[in-house]
């Protein structure tokens, strides 16, 4: 099996590697794993309180090239999106963009899980009381 050029590019030059302060109220952290291969993926987002826009995204993944590329792409995609928009990202979008072979689809699932987990964590921090921004211009 050979990796696509896009996977290799993300693998060699991963975007947004790093971490943010987990305890910050504006930061949501998602830590997910794929037990079938033992991969772990951590994805963090920093959300603007006023606009609900994801202003910063960081990741760190321990796993194969496809898992690293999937999470790298995921951080690129969520940046600049509102939380609700980010929730519409589907694993198959990642599969298409990176031309992942069937045996690596679980890497894209992991990336989608990571986005959802990070947003879930952020939402939990905001609590139910937080009003949703009324107008969000894309």
């Amino acid at each position: 099996m050979s990796y696509s050029d896009k996977v290799i590019d993300h693998y060699n030059n991963p975007r947004n590697v790093g971490s943010m302060d987990k305890s910050s109220a504006d930061v949501g952290t998602g830590l997910v794993g794929a037990p079938e291969c033992g991969d772990v993926m951590k994805l963090q987002i920093k959300v603007n309180r006023e606009t609900n826009v994801i202003e910063e995204a960081k990741f760190k993944t321990f796993g194969c090239g496809s898992a690293i590329a999937s999470s790298s792409l995921a951080t690129e995609w969520v940046k600049g999106k509102t939380v609700d928009e980010a929730l519409t990202i589907k694993n198959m979008d990642i599969v298409k963009e990176l031309s992942l072979p069937p045996v690596k689809i679980h890497c894209s699932v992991l990336a989608e899980d990571a986005i959802r987990a990070a947003i879930g964590d952020w939402k939990k921090k905001q609590g139910a009381a937080k009003p949703v921004a009324a107008t969000v211009v894309q």
Binding site: L31, G33, P35, G38, F62, I105, H106, D113, R116
Partner: protein
């Protein structure tokens, strides 16, 4: 190539009509005729059935080895070189089935994974479905392994990366090496504990199959529960196994 037989062989037993020898007409084993010794066309059976074993996880490996060598001798293409071309073809197919079955069943982990697959476990499929469910319901997907294990795996990986980097730069970091060495011992203990846990699950599973063989009904729910408990142990084991491997690599280099 080796995986393909896993997916094409189903758990079905050979249909009744195919159970008599094509050559002499008497009842036959799955692989060769006990009466006239002719190799038989491969029947779509699972590996346990191929060896005439119940679907239990504790098995006597010395018996398995003995059966394997005996069957090898009867099924090997070289020993059937004088047979008709159809029989030779079957001999080739049966031999390859035999090798796959033997390789899978002799290894306790592979054996467990194979049984779980026969029992309908599809870890990847299930994970994908759960993600799709989270997408439509907006609920947070439950992670298959406990979050604290993920946390631990992540942290240790960070330390390993740090140590790799130090080594690359030619720096020595005795404190970090000591810390990782300590964690390695802990991991190995965990791996041992997981194996014992798995062995306990095998016992439970086999007990259930035995009851079934004794004519006591086993509910689908119980079967599924026993199955899923094994999946859980194997999932946690995969992480620990990878970590033990990676820690070993970093400490050695």
């Amino acid at each position: 190539m080796t995986d393909s037989s896993l997916t094409t062989i189903t758990a079905k037993r050979a249909p009744e009509g195919t159970q008599s020898c094509w050559s002499c007409g008497t009842m036959r084993a799955v692989h060769f005729c006990k009466s006239c010794g002719k190799v038989q066309p491969p029947a779509p059976v699972d590996y346990f059935t191929f060896f005439g074993l119940p679907r239990k996880l504790n098995l006597d490996v010395t018996v398995l080895e003995k059966d394997f060598y005996e069957l090898s001798r009867k099924l090997h293409p070289d020993l059937n070189a004088g047979a008709g071309s159809q029989e030779q073809e079957w001999s080739l197919q049966q031999s390859s089935l035999l090798n796959d079955a033997h390789r899978t069943l002799k290894d306790p982990i592979k054996r467990t994974q194979y049984l779980l697959q026969l029992e309908g476990v599809e870890v990847e499929e299930q994970s994908k479905t759960a993600t799709e469910e989270a997408r439509t319901t907006g609920q947070v997907k439950k992670q298959i392994v406990p979050p604290d294990l993920l946390e631990e795996v992540f942290e240790l990986n960070m330390q390993l990366e740090e140590l790799r980097m130090h080594k690359k730069m030619g720096e020595d970091d005795p404190a970090l090496i000591e810390e990782i060495g300590r964690q390695k011992l802990e991991l190995e203990e965990k791996q041992e504990a997981l194996l014992r846990e798995l062995e306990f699950r095998w016992k439970m599973w086999d007990g259930m199959i035995q009851r079934e063989q004794n004519g006591q009904p086993v509910s689908g729910e119980e079967r599924k529960q026993e199955r899923d408990k094994m999946v859980d142990v194997l999932n946690r084991r995969n992480y620990i196994r990878n970590l033990v491997r990676d820690v070993g690599e970093v400490l050695e280099n």
